[in-house]
Symmetry: C2
Subunit: 229 residues, 2 copies
């Protein structure tokens, strides 16, 4: 086939930043590299795009191959193309990100001869290539998203306490929020439905359980809002 | 040099969606292709990424070469990588977008043997490849941005009327806004400073001129807000 561009081409890769939320901790899924460069270092799951697959397909395939994690909604984040970002040669990578409920995605251990593990965002190891910057970009995107769209439906159990919801926001935003103010704002959005149930098996005074108003949630997801915290 | 990935590689390109605002009309900058495929068709300015340049550099270079337009702030939009998007072979393109004051970027005509022209977003010609979808994606991004960040500083003259500002929002959002409501909201943000000047040389009753409060503008640009319209 006649090629449209006869000069040297960058290699094209994908990388996935998968955030998992569990017990009030925001984590990132990393794999341990078994090849040079950076052999033995932790890195984002990812790899080269095949000539016949779309970028979305490549991201899902690599994530599945390297970590066993499937069925996640990966959203394209940003394409990183600095000429020196890979010491081997020019590699441009389209980064993706996703937010999953960690309990749904227990890592099966070494798939594809690699180790995969969740690391707390507040205690990451040194990572290969420019992956630290990619994780940082994904976290900023997530922090932006939380302010303009409801987040939580995919991360919390179907019924949850206001404290759990506040914890989720605090974890993503890396800050502490005023309890009264948070409750006033979140309840004011009419996004939550109070159930007639309370927490079970807790040492402290059992708190009321809430659930999301699904129709309202989906509408706000589409329309956006501004959650000033 | 040993290559890290020995299989066939997609070609890597960049494309630029440059929006220009002028006299209440939102326009897009297109070039007329002189090569197959789609010879004679209008398309986004863009081209292949050179092995030694970053994606940002490639986008700026192509835009300058093909349209003469330089010194714009191009923001990365999305990378389009569907396998069949280019009939020649696999080409993945990182799309960029920018919003400029059209009067600052009069097109010099045929640069690089191509014709370049501004087209109203409401009256675009048929464009090559998947460029219609890329323009659509850029427009949605711009519409989102307008709701969460101040826009206008770069597009309006230093002093402008509230009608001009409303027009800008209406054009980007492709809707009409209630005048009283718009004014109440925009003035309530304390983003505007009333000057002691009025419009010159207008047939209708001359309106008050405003300017942006630069510090507040920059702060809102960073912090975001929600401009519900």
């Amino acid at each position: 086939m006649a090629h449209s561009y006869e000069y040297p081409r960058p290699a094209l890769a994908v990388d996935c930043v998968v955030f998992g939320f569990d017990e009030g901790d925001l984590k990132v899924l990393l794999i341990q590299r078994d090849l040079e460069p950076f052999a033995g270092k932790w890195a984002l799951p990812g790899g080269f795009v095949r000539i016949e697959e779309s970028l979305d397909q490549a991201a899902l395939r690599e994530l599945k191959e390297e970590t066993g994690v499937g069925k996640v909604y990966l959203e394209q984040l940003y394409t990183f193309g600095e000429p020196k970002r890979d010491p081997r040669e020019r590699v441009v990578t389209a980064a993706y990100y996703a937010l999953v409920k960690l309990s749904d995605h227990r890592i099966k251990g070494a798939t594809d001869a690699r180790d995969a593990a969740w690391f707390s965002i507040s205690d990451l190891p040194r990572v290969a290539f420019d992956h630290e910057g990619i994780i940082e970009t994904a976290l900023r995107r997530l922090q932006g998203k939380v302010r303009y769209e409801p987040v939580g439906f995919e991360l919390l159990p179907p019924k949850f306490t206001l404290t759990q919801l506040q914890h989720l926001y605090e974890t993503i935003l890396e800050t502490t929020l005023d309890k009264r103010n948070f409750r006033k704002k979140i309840l004011g959005m009419n996004l939550l439905i109070e159930t007639d149930e309370i927490e079970q098996d807790v040492a402290h005074r059992a708190a009321r359980l809430y659930r999301f108003h699904e129709a309202k949630y989906r509408r706000l997801e589409k329309e956006g809002f501004n959650f000033e915290l």
